[in-house]
Symmetry: C2
Subunit: 245 residues, 2 copies
Amino acid sequence: MARTAAALIIGNEILTGKIQESNMRELAAELFALGISLERVVICRDDVDVIAADLADLRRRYDLVFTTGGVGPTHDDVTHRAVAQSFGRRLTRVPELELLIRTALGDRCTEGHLLMADLPEGATLISSHEVRWPTVVIENVFVLPGLPKVFRLKLPGLREHLRGDEAPFLSRAVYTLCDEGELAKPMAEVAARHSDVSIGSYPVTDRADYRVKLTIDGTDPHSIERAATALRAFIPRDKLVEMEE
Amino acid sequence: MARTAAALIIGNEILTGKIQESNMRELAAELFALGISLERVVICRDDVDVIAADLADLRRRYDLVFTTGGVGPTHDDVTHRAVAQSFGRRLTRVPELELLIRTALGDRCTEGHLLMADLPEGATLISSHEVRWPTVVIENVFVLPGLPKVFRLKLPGLREHLRGDEAPFLSRAVYTLCDEGELAKPMAEVAARHSDVSIGSYPVTDRADYRVKLTIDGTDPHSIERAATALRAFIPRDKLVEMEE
């Protein structure tokens, strides 16, 4: 069985419409390529009790949980405190991180900067070449930053750590000028006959060359190919669009 | 008390990293301007039981719930079925929608197209000038499409429907060249003294003219102004950045 995963995105700035969340797609694509099934994403407020409760729920239900956001030193960065609460642990200053901060900042270092060295007791640190600051892991919870530039840099280092026995997920696409109403009935039959793959149907409004993109996801290339052939078979030839995926 | 809201984003295409979700920011900004507090967003799979369970939870905990996605006619569009299940209602063909589809498509109309006219029993339809297809409402649940172009067109029509007694949320920003470590301690004190507003701190990595954006959210302009003045007071003059918000 493929491992399951969930993500907890922490940040008032997303729930008030100030910024466009953009880390999730990167994480989703990374997990897809690893064969890990991302089942759920929750976006919540910067609130210790809310985060702790969500985390308690998610880490019980899914094999892996990723949090993003709230790991800076300011009053609204409460993720580490919430993670500690969720696991019933205390926050403790990590000497290795304190040294990292003191070395980087020298005389500029303040107690405010050092707050970033306070982690839940027993946290594991994963180092990577790409980012000096390690990734914090507590049991099955990976605590990641919200800043997209830093988040993205952390993914390659995590990849090897996350790789398991799963076959990677693969995806193929079929493009058509049919609309979804025309496709609905025959596609439902194909989907029912090919239950070893997952077939999705996505209309677009901004393209002249096709109207619907059909996707076939799975782990076995032959199963995917068989389902793609079955989909192409019922689409009228003049409405089947050949294009690079 | 301001009403609370949650959103349920339905779609495998988001959880597999195929597309960047973009409706949530629009909805969040809309609710913020109306003074409605968006507390939580959940992204889930195209699975009837999962959607029905999530919806049962969210509509009990929040005043308003918005779903996006899964309202087309294909096999992976299961939102209306899941909403019906969550409310213990049946799906039933709505004559008004059937007529809309038959009129629009004429001879091209198939049973596949008409599947879009099947809604949970007792659903209310909200019409607007911007989109011919009405918005479906069942009690406190608003069922919205996932297609960003259509989603966006629906918001103005919903605005008047959602407007209540709440004062709109307002937001001001203060920009600084300080880093978050320098800001942490004094800002925490300001946040504690100004608990009638919500102060956020957001570092950026892609700007030369400032390093951190501080935001002050609230409903009372005077409270916001007082907190902004208190924040500006502790930032060294040469690190305070004057700019249009």
